[in-house]
């Protein structure tokens, strides 16, 4: 655990990709199995641990420290793991530090009621860095700036395998990855992908930057709508099926209606949407189906889901990924003809002859669940990751409203000592009601100004939250509005961010809640 803790600690302040890669590779080379495999899984975000709840950690520390001192410390630091790791009373009589594999193995076998004592015992045996790493590990979310892709890139330093080869087998191996390390270090053959119903990494698009059209020949591209659903991969084989999210999580169980209706032998790429006989539902509709443990028959009937297909990776055993996009689309159309289902349809192409015309349909698409246009090179192979120059997403311009800052809270992580989380409101009659919260959209320099505004205009405090003088107008950009029963205003914005700070605008001239209500999809 100490080596892993030191790795995380160094990573948390390491500048730049290369220093991080060096650190991870050095760790993987010098650490024995199975510890390094668990560490890799944790860095790549693929470690399935029974997560400890922050409330449990708070209770543990409450038994050992003065509550007022804990409160003041946590408010100051803004990060629970870091606060607890520093406050935890050092036990100098404790035994040797636990191994990472010991922690993972013991947690996996433990009953829920045993977890608090186990965690407390480990915290006693670790130093502050070790405690911080343990708490990050078990509360899920290392936040040391490592993507799964970067962690896998470090694996290329262990042997001759390149990144695409590693990405390909990644979803067929499990922590602690003994078979993977054996292959990379030349002790065994490549792990087999044949039987496993394995997720294959998706191909992703770059945003189309302003002015980039001038450098692209539109005739080289095919255009499709960008649908506002959930990007999925459907793997069908031998009468069985699995549905994966874009990060490779198996989400089949949440969609029994869909999975029962499908047959065939293929790996398909598409968008999960609510599909009713009278058309596609909104993202808000789809949200009713997400993150549920049980799916009632009523919900399945009222919010039936289907997949709008974009692409095909495998047709039975034929690997189509090296074919050009136009050829894959033909293979996909043929496959669909053989496996027709009301749950599947083909994402239509959008005529794209000139940029001006395309910009017009993008600004006024035929369906509210469309959030822009996709552009894919006609000759593009299906290449995992986000390769340059092949696929572009060209999203609709966001909506904008002027709101008034009402509350502020200190941020977390890098921004833990600054007021960086802002709740803003819109007018209903002559009072402001909160309509959303935004954490980003501003530059570091603007953040300092906002922080200064909060400190200078605080009118009330509720724990870590400050109520501010209702005078500062924030121009909020957002992608859509849903109806919400949770919010007092009855609306919830999607992806709100602060587009501009309107130091010049009087609060009375900010927008009204009705403006948002008109935008509900």
């Amino acid at each position: 655990m100490q080596a892993f803790a030191e790795l995380l600690d160094r990573l948390s302040t390491a500048p730049g990709r290369n220093v991080r890669l060096d650190l991870i590779a050095a760790y993987l080379k010098s650490t024995p199995d199975p510890d390094r495999g668990y560490a890799l899984a944790s860095l790549a975000g693929d470690l399935r641990l029974r997560a400890a709840r922050p409330s449990m950690i708070r209770e543990l520390v409450a038994d050992r420290t003065d509550p007022e001192l804990f409160r003041l410390s946590y408010d100051y630091i803004g990060d629970l793991a870091e606060t607890v790791s520093l406050l935890w009373p050092q036990d100098r009589t404790a035994n040797a530090t636990p191994r990472l594999s010991e922690i993972i193995g013991t947690l996996g076998a433990a009953k829920r009621g045993q977890v608090p004592d186990l965690v407390a015992g480990w915290l006693d045996r670790l130093d502050p860095t070790g405690r911080w790493a343990l708490l990050k590990l078990i509360t899920g979310g290392l936040r040391v700036g490592i993507s799964g892709r970067l962690a896998r890139t470090a694996l290329t330093r262990l042997g001759d395998a390149d990144l695409p080869a590693i990405e390909e087998v990644w979803h067929a191996v499990e922590p602690p990855y003994a078979a993977l390390f054996d292959w990379l270090e030349g002790r065994a053959a490549r792990p087999s992908l044949a039987e496993a119903m394995t997720f294959r990494p998706l191909m992703l698009a770059h945003p189309l930057e302003v002015g980039e059209q001038a450098h692209l020949e539109l005739a080289d591209f095919r255009a499709e709508w960008k649908w506002d659903g959930i990007r999925v991969q459907l793997v069908l084989r031998g009468g069985q099926g699995r549905l994966f999210s874009r990060t490779g999580d198996d989400i089949s169980l949440a969609f029994p209606d869909l999975m029962q209706a499908l047959a065939g032998d293929a790996v398909l790429d598409g968008e999960l949407l609510v599909m009713r006989p009278d058309g596609i539902g909104s993202f808000n509709d789809l949200q009713q189906r997400l993150n549920r443990k049980t799916v009632s028959a009523k919900l399945q009937a009222e919010h039936p889901v289907g997949i709008r297909l974009y692409d095909i990776l495998f047709d039975a055993d034929r690997d189509c990924r090296d074919l050009p996009f136009t050829d894959r689309r033909q293979v996909l159309a043929d496959w669909m003809a053989r496996h027709a289902s009301p749950r599947l349809d083909l994402s239509p192409l959008v005529p794209a002859t000139d940029w001006e015309r395309l910009a017009e349909v993008r600004a006024d698409p035929p369906h509210p669940a469309i959030e822009g246009v996709m552009l894919k090179r006609a000759d593009s192979p299906y290449q995992a990751g986000r390769p340059r120059g092949l696929w572009f997403k060209w999203k609709r311009e966001p909506h904008r409203v002027d709101c008034v800052m009402m509350y502020a809270q200190r941020g977390h992580g890098r921004r833990s000592s600054l007021y960086s989380d802002f709740t803003f409101g819109a007018w209903r009659g002559d009072a402001l009601v909160p309509v959303g919260k935004a954490y980003f959209g501003f530059t570091d320099a603007e953040l300092k100004e906002l922080d200064r505004f909060v400190r200078g205009n605080t009118v009330d405090r509720y724990g870590p939250v400050r109520a501010v003088e209702q005078s500062l107008v924030l121009e909020i950009a957002f992608d859509g509005v849903n109806r919400s029963r949770r919010h007092k205003s009855g609306v919830a914005m999607r992806f709100p961010r602060i587009a501009r700070i309107r130091w010049d605008k009087p609060a009375a001239e900010a927008d009204h809640v009705e403006t948002l209500e008109w935008l509900i999809a």
Partner: protein, 347 residues
């Protein structure tokens, strides 16, 4: 000590901490007729006072920084030397913060108040150690007044710096340090740890390092960075003020490992905000354990807490049954959340 304490002869005023029967300020924030200065950091020693009483070293530092603005007339005292000002007896004792730093021991009407200024209890080869003086009221700083601040031994942090120098000989190590105190302490500790190579200095550090050496603190071979070709610094240790780390100046270092030596480096978010690849937790301020130990050691019935995180320390002192309150002194970093703190308070 006196029965029925009054302790009403020293009070915070807009101009600073004011002693009524002696008609002087301690570390005034506005120009004062008569000032006692605890130490040379810019938020304690300000220019433009008329008569200044301080240690020989503190006055030398103020003169090096402010020239003829350091004060009109000076009374240079040694630690322990007693002076009378009006009806008050004044004595400076060492605070262990930086060279020449002092606590101010004031006695009047049978009562004793100690103004600690900034202090630490851990070892520092460049200055005299903190001296405990029992008193009726103790005025303490609280820069690191939260129990999350427990500084590891500074020697171990210096070892980490040296280990990194050994591990990355192809890179340069650029260490951000406050110009007064921290720079000289880190250099002296590197020397104690056996590092004998020349240490290179940003221009802003040269004057005070030279002054320390003149005052008898051995810092070994030092040389300015200015004028050296980039390659000459490969594998070397370079020291600069923290704000130079993000400056264009730092771009002339060959692939630097950016280190910052400060008590704030205990908090990862601070280390990241500073861009410190190698955060070194080395502080010239007392950590939580030192603050709380000092509160117990001085046996004062009243604890007055000045700049920093007063709330937690006041809470702690009250939990011991002591009278405690926060003194809001203008001109110190009250909130301590701003980045300027690293430069201004010089931890």
């Amino acid at each position: 000590m006196a029965e029925g304490k009054r302790l009403n002869w020293l009070e915070p005023r807009p101009g600073g901490l004011y002693c009524i029967p002696g008609d002087f300020y301690v570390d005034p924030v506005r120009k004062a007729e008569r000032a006692i200065i605890t130490h040379g950091h810019a938020d304690h020693a300000r220019p433009g006072n008329n008569h200044v009483l301080a240690t020989h070293e503190t006055i030398a530092i103020a003169e090096a920084r402010y020239g003829s603005n350091a004060g009109r007339s000076f009374q240079r005292v040694r630690y322990g030397e007693v002076t009378r000002i009006g009806d008050v007896s004044v004595r400076l004792v060492s605070a262990g913060h930086v060279l020449g730093s002092a606590q101010v021991v004031l006695e009047h009407g049978g009562e004793r108040i100690v103004v600690s200024g900034d202090y630490k209890r851990s070892r520092d080869p460049t200055c005299a150690p903190f001296e405990v003086v029992t008193c009726d009221a103790f005025i303490t700083e609280a820069t690191f007044g939260l129990p999350v601040f427990r500084h590891p031994p500074a020697r171990a942090e210096v070892e980490r710096l040296l280990a990194s120098v050994t591990a990355s000989p192809e890179r340069c190590h650029l260490v951000g340090v406050y110009a007064l105190g921290k720079a000289q302490r880190v250099i002296a500790m590197l020397r104690e740890a056996g590092y004998t190579d020349t240490i290179y200095l940003h221009g802003a550090l040269q004057k005070l390092c030279a002054l320390y050496q003149r005052l008898g603190v051995d810092l070994g071979d030092l040389a300015p960075v200015a004028g050296l070709p980039k390659q000459a610094l490969t594998g070397r240790i370079v020291m600069c003020p923290p704000n130079a780390l993000a400056d264009r100046w730092s771009q002339r270092m060959p692939d630097p490992v950016t280190a910052v030596a400060s008590g704030w480096m205990r908090i990862r978010a601070r280390a990241r905000q500073r861009g410190a690849e190698l955060p070194l937790i080395i502080s010239d301020h007392a950590d939580w354990d030192e603050l709380t130990a000092t509160i117990r050691d001085v046996e004062a019935g009243e604890i007055w807490v000045t700049h920093g995180r007063e709330d937690a320390l006041v809470h702690y002192a009250r939990s011991l049954g002591l009278e405690a309150r926060a003194l809001s002194l203008v001109g110190r970093e009250e909130d301590g959340d701003t980045e300027t703190e690293l430069e201004e308070a010089g931890p």
